[in-house]
């Protein structure tokens, strides 16, 4: 199919500014969601290092744990937790779009599907917390 434009050389090509994600709230929130992965990855690296300390002896493990109690690391974990919650909630919402649940041929409303997922997530977290609290203190 031939385009009906007169002179391709005369086309104006607008460039996307590097700050495009600051133009709209939804773009900004999208970028936050992308950024959240960096913090979650960071948290996982710290966790893996912490696990690795187990084999390095009691002193090394205690030193590592002491380091994590410093204000900087507590702040990092606070921020990572906020991003992890944001990521998880938006993830559940996107799941309702990607894999909608059909009940009697009708799609379940997305908010309901998201709420059910978050409810299940909270329930599982609660069970893990209860099991953890029930562990003997020496474990």
């Amino acid at each position: 199919m031939m385009a009906t434009r007169p002179d391709p050389a005369g086309l104006y090509h607008p460039a996307m500014p590097a700050t495009w994600w600051l133009r709209k709230r939804s773009y900004f929130l999208f970028m936050l969601r992308e950024l959240s992965s960096v913090f979650i990855a960071g948290f996982l690296v710290v966790l893996l290092l912490q696990i690795a300390q187990i084999s390095s002896g009691e002193d090394a493990r205690a030193a590592f744990s002491a380091m994590l109690r410093s204000p900087g690391w507590i702040l990092f974990h606070g921020v990572a937790l906020a991003f992890a919650v944001y990521h998880s909630v938006t993830w559940f919402y996107t799941t309702s779009i990607v894999m909608p649940l059909r009940v009697r041929g009708r799609e379940l409303p997305r908010w309901l599907f998201t709420a059910l997922n978050i409810g299940a997530w909270a329930g599982v977290s609660l069970v893990i917390l209860i099991l953890y609290l029930a562990l003997p203190a020496s474990a």
Partner: protein, 248 residues
């Protein structure tokens, strides 16, 4: 009916006159029931006949009057001036597309993409006419119907930063249209469409910003279509690994 006056700051680009777009302001008296397109038609008829833009149906059906209105992709025949009054309205060509003149964008790339997803029913074997039409149940129709409401207005492309950064991205409307045919019980073309939809310039380019679905005037929900094609394609790929003999 009472008339008020509103200012329209309209992007002008006359390639033989200026190298980059400029802005021209028009003060337009308007009755309560005018939409942005009415104001542009008024300018064209009464004030400045050189202003260029596309439109046809004036009722949200043809999809040709898409523009950026105060930075948002809109059908200009569907947005009322009164909702913006007393502030000025910025009218620009749809974002992310090359501009031919004023508010007219070059849609040839979009048309090529639409064609590339083969938006028609592909049959492995056609039935002879004597056997009658291909029947479809209401449920089978329901599976794809809302993805078939697209009017090709390209608002979703104007809202998509991925397309803005990479004009090669097949994009929301074209992928949704391909998916619409994949979902059609009469169609056997999924594998053929996968070449384009499953390409890195297809579904995998999408990072799920989701704005395409927000701006779509027909509630097509292209973002959902793209994510579901991702799931289907991944499932097919896994199946092809575990059951290579089952490949179509």
């Amino acid at each position: 009916m009472s008339e008020r006056t509103i200012t329209l700051d309209v992007t002008r680009y006359r390639p033989h006159q200026e190298a980059v777009p400029t802005v021209q302001s028009y003060a337009i008296p308007f009755p309560d029931d005018w939409v942005v397109l009415d104001a542009l038609n008024h300018i064209k008829d009464q004030v400045d006949g050189s202003l260029s833009y596309r439109w046809s149906c004036r009722m949200g059906v043809c999809g040709s009057c898409g523009m950026m209105v105060n930075g948002e992709p809109k059908l200009s025949c569907a947005v009322f001036l009164r909702d913006y009054f007393p502030r000025a309205i910025r009218v620009e060509p749809l974002s992310n597309f090359p501009v031919i003149r004023d508010l007219v964008i070059d849609m040839s790339g979009f048309l090529d993409k639409l064609k590339s997803v083969k938006p028609w029913i592909i049959r492995e074997q056609e039935k002879p006419l004597s056997e009658g039409e291909y029947l479809q149940s209401p449920r089978e129709l329901d599976a794809y119907q809302h993805f078939s409401q697209c009017i090709n207005c390209m608002l979703c492309y104007a809202a998509c930063p991925v397309f803005g950064l990479d004009s090669g991205f097949v994009g929301p409307a074209a992928i949704a249209l391909g998916y619409r045919y994949n979902l059609d019980s009469r169609d056997h073309g999924t594998a053929e469409r996968r070449e384009v939809l499953g390409d890195h310039e297809g579904i995998w380019q999408c990072t799920f910003v989701g704005e395409c679905s927000v701006v779509c005037p027909k509630h097509v929900d292209p973002a959902a279509a793209i994510q579901r094609v991702k799931v289907d394609t991944a499932k097919d790929w896994i199946l092809s690994l575990v059951m290579p003999w089952g490949q179509r």
